[in-house]
Symmetry: C2
Subunit: 332 residues, 2 copies
Amino acid sequence: MMINKQVLLKSRPKGWASEADFEILEAPVPKPAEGQVLVRNHWLSLDPYMRGRMNDAKSYAAKAEIGEVMIGGTVGEVVETHDASFKKGDFVVGMLGWQQFGVASGKALRVIDVKAAPAQAYLGAIGMPGVTAWIGLLTIAEPKPGETVVVSAASGAVGSVVGQLAKIKGARAVGIAGGAQKCRYVVEELGFDAGVDYKSPSFIADLEAATPKGVDVYFENVGGEVLEAVSRRFNFFARMPLCGLVSQYNEANPAGLRNLHAFLTNRVKLQGFIVSDRPELWPRALQELASWVGSGKIKYRETIAQGLENAPKAFIGMLKGENFGKQLVKLV
Amino acid sequence: MMINKQVLLKSRPKGWASEADFEILEAPVPKPAEGQVLVRNHWLSLDPYMRGRMNDAKSYAAKAEIGEVMIGGTVGEVVETHDASFKKGDFVVGMLGWQQFGVASGKALRVIDVKAAPAQAYLGAIGMPGVTAWIGLLTIAEPKPGETVVVSAASGAVGSVVGQLAKIKGARAVGIAGGAQKCRYVVEELGFDAGVDYKSPSFIADLEAATPKGVDVYFENVGGEVLEAVSRRFNFFARMPLCGLVSQYNEANPAGLRNLHAFLTNRVKLQGFIVSDRPELWPRALQELASWVGSGKIKYRETIAQGLENAPKAFIGMLKGENFGKQLVKLV
């Protein structure tokens, strides 16, 4: 009998998640029912939103349950199908979770073209993170040519696409990231106009120098002190798509936003959003992203953990910013 | 020679404004130049935004200068005109400041119909505060029938119109105000569905009881603890027009917003706004407001201070919530 290694949620973390909050288990490979497809996962995506699902709190999506497989986006290969729209050997993207095999309704899977791009890119720049960047920047912030777009977690899966989309739209792109290496990367490899290191003692002055005309768009992934600093640079009518607050997810007392007054006097729009709220936009977003990735206008980098058993450690490292670009787990 | 009593800004307050920050002075009545109109002010409007203008900080409008007449909206009577579109005896609304007489370009004045409504109403429900409510609620929040609209400073010049507009649009209107008397007023006289007293020890529980289906729109005038409490009641896709933060204007360390996470998980839109940014909407807003005031669908209340010399005291009292409804100063 084939074995299906899985990572379950064992306990809900208080503060920082730890490896002890996960449990690794071996289960039988599940059997697909009528209309279902059995997939062997090749890649697991690790994303900051997963930390929120580990809490016992109202959120935009069902929380992960204790003793259940952790939720997560996957790319894999169809090994058995009871849905005629798939065939064995098809590569599909879905939400099959932290496990080696999964079954899902055919409706919850999408066939991908692994000749056009590497399979794992469908979990990154031409997947959920890319669409998140596309929706947040292009439908909420709508940057105009010459405006200044700042994005935090700029070398990450979402942030790196945000800055490159800003450049495509003719805006100035400023990325905030942790450490000189990531800041150099967003400028030298991704083509941002500036990279600002939030860990540097000169962060405030560096941010000011990088935004000489103020900030028109702030694509927010992190919260905390970075948000405070950027909010002091807002121009009138600035827009702030609120995508994540990763610096706060493990804090018992989140920092919030001290400088609310800046939102009033500058007439700023803040809009929380979740990529799954706008399914009607996905086809167009994916098509544009794939074309820009194909033409080299959107580049990306990956950090790859080997083997499912390393997923918890890689996930915790990602929350601390130890990854560089899209964090993946290679399962095969 | 006729005397023009004026109130000047004497010093920029640190924390709470005090009467010592103002100076009362007598000057000659100014002479209108070509294209200008001399107006004898009958009514001066006192509004929370004026506190911001007293600071030496970037804001949406020019700050008040030390030694200059305090800015403010006025209604008065034309006494001399060098602009042919006005005649002596016309009543006009303008921004002539805290003084008995003022000159302005005819372009900065608008003739009002004092037979259709009392002159001072053009500083309230059918003036800037009414248009503020109209723009914030109807163009930013866009409440749908059956949704729950919460407004703070609910018995004030803006808040009272917000709640009544919400009712006109078929929404549930919940007003937050200070003290049982104001809470009774918004329900019994203005027709809100509930009034919640933020000074009551049971405020949190009362707010919960008044919003059994959560909060879809929060029209924010005050900030601080009231904002924290309402943010815990947000429904998915709630909207928060940010009109003012009056509880914070005199604080050296404003409270900000601790519960930023609620804006992410509930996909809330927060939009700072200033009524003067949308001049193109004023004619329609004023027309609708005048019609609803005329038909009794929008009611209002006024607190009237007598004489310009009492303006500083009335202004400070308003910032503390001592007024009831629109705060005015009667000058004639």
